[in-house]
Symmetry: C2
Subunit: 309 residues, 2 copies
């Protein structure tokens, strides 16, 4: 479960990346429209007429979220000179995939609240929640159909599948860890990469792939994974009490609990902070190296998190 | 839940569709390899090293099934002159999507057995079953990356998403019917189209789209939907006792129970048989009209079912 409780809305990002301009807001609005259109595909118009899974998907998306993955894709896409249509498609793909994982994760973790609203399984039951996640996942691929240069599609499809498989594997690794305390930070980081790194790197990787700059995909991925681990550690520090109490089930893999279990006792918190900072600084350094300031939004988020540590 | 308890292995299909030849068996073997490769993407080699969801997906696929949707795609693809690589990709997409729906449906319906094996949720638990269905669904789109003519991909992606959304909607409609007895055959048929028609028409529609014969997609869809409804009615007649007893939960929508609830009492069985035959004969007539005998395998299956009625 990846909970964004920190605000990245005001993460510093150069105007040139377009993210702070009205034009970028228009793009984000268009991403919202594309996502809504995809999850209501084939449905009669009119909110009352929607099937349960479409209504659940629309409601889940309308509840908000910071659209971090959409912003990453839009920021990188604009910086790399993609057509707006393409940046929008990649942003919608990344955001829909993330939201598919949230709907299924919330069900698996029996989370009751998401974005201050009851989660889909609470509102609609388990069966509809499974269908809603499936609909969002399918819609994520559906968004790719709008990419202007069709020659790119095989690589983009393969990339989305690769990252989806990684997320699924990360989720499974967390289940396998269920009941046994993880005591190894290397294992922790592997799980964190699957849980949040994979879907943070996807928008950047897609933008580089679409811009014909595949040589930068590895760098973008490493930057996003470092951010994902750093973010996850910070998130864990906020959640440590509820995780220790088993509020999210016995499976919660929490950095602080890992360090405590490894025998670091009273030092665990300071150590977690240092490790988190290290990953965030790595993310900043790696994002800085990306061409055209394509990593500006990632860098801004990492910087904002460092300042809160 | 769509259960294939009838054998279509020997459904008559002209040699020209290639399905009875050794060459076609080779294509089907290649479809199996492609599916396995996609669900184990990024995994270490070696069966023991697979993550739970990949192992569950491999095990689910290895348990068999008649590969009706793969055969429909291969038969139509060969008949329409597609490259083997393309027929294989479309077959893998259709079959993976179907298997994704089976894994999630089995969990939702709490089915214990599938293809004489314990279902994924029974073997691995609910959480892994959700992940396994997600992996299979993502892999279905991943298979499209191998299509040789990339210009076709937007249409193919859009079609797969449209049919997936229809399946999800059909599944939801069945949940909504839960507890209330469906008494209307029009509603029954709508649910049946979502439950089985959508994924039976997909392989044919994909083959026509890839062959540049989009004008035949509507005809292929109507033929497959008629077959799907006819098949579902036959399947319901086999399941009527367990459905009436609530073995598949209170939600089972069964044609015979629909007709009984509509007041047809002792006539219900004869009436269900007639309605089923009508749909199957419609499927045969519509399949006959498709060009290049692209509907030969569908026609053969419909004929085999008629002979069992």
């Amino acid at each position: 479960m990846m909970k964004i409780c920190f605000s990245f809305m005001n993460a510093p990002s150069p105007t040139h990346s377009g993210l702070s301009s009205a034009a970028a807001d228009n793009l984000l609005d268009e991403v919202e429209r594309v996502m809504r259109r995809l999850v209501t595909h084939g449905e009669p118009s009119g909110e009352d007429m929607l099937s349960d899974s479409a209504r659940a998907a629309v409601g889940h998306l309308a509840a908000g979220g910071q659209r971090v993955r959409a912003r990453l894709a839009l920021g990188a896409g604009i910086a790399l000179g993609l057509l707006p249509q393409d940046s929008i498609a990649l942003a919608a793909t990344s955001e829909l995939l993330h939201n598919a994982s949230l709907v299924h994760d919330d069900l698996q973790d029996r989370e009751n609240v998401r974005r201050r609203n009851p989660t889909v399984w609470v509102n609609y039951g388990d069966d509809v929640a499974i269908c809603t996640g499936d609909l969002l996942l399918s819609a994520a691929y559906g968004a790719l159909a709008a990419v202007s240069d069709r020659r790119l599609l095989p690589d983009l499809i393969a990339l989305v599948h690769a990252r989806t498989a990684l997320v699924v594997r990360g989720q499974c690794a967390e289940f396998s860890a269920k009941g046994q305390q993880v005591t190894d930070m290397a294992m922790y980081e592997k799980i964190a990469v699957g849980k949040s790194g994979a879907l943070l790197s996807l928008p950047l990787e897609l933008a580089f792939a679409a811009a014909g700059k595949k040589e930068w995909m590895g760098g973008a991925r490493r930057a996003a994974e470092a951010f994902g681990i750093g973010y996850q550690i910070m998130d864990d520090m906020e959640d440590v009490e509820s995780d220790a109490a088993g509020d999210h089930g016995p499976r919660a893999v929490n950095a602080l609990l890992v360090l405590r279990a490894a025998g670091h006792g009273t030092n665990a918190e300071a150590m977690a902070r240092e490790i988190g900072l290290l990953h965030l600084r790595t993310a900043i350094a790696l994002a800085d190296r990306l061409p055209n300031e394509a990593g500006a939004f990632l860098r801004g988020m990492a910087l904002a998190l460092c300042q809160q540590l």
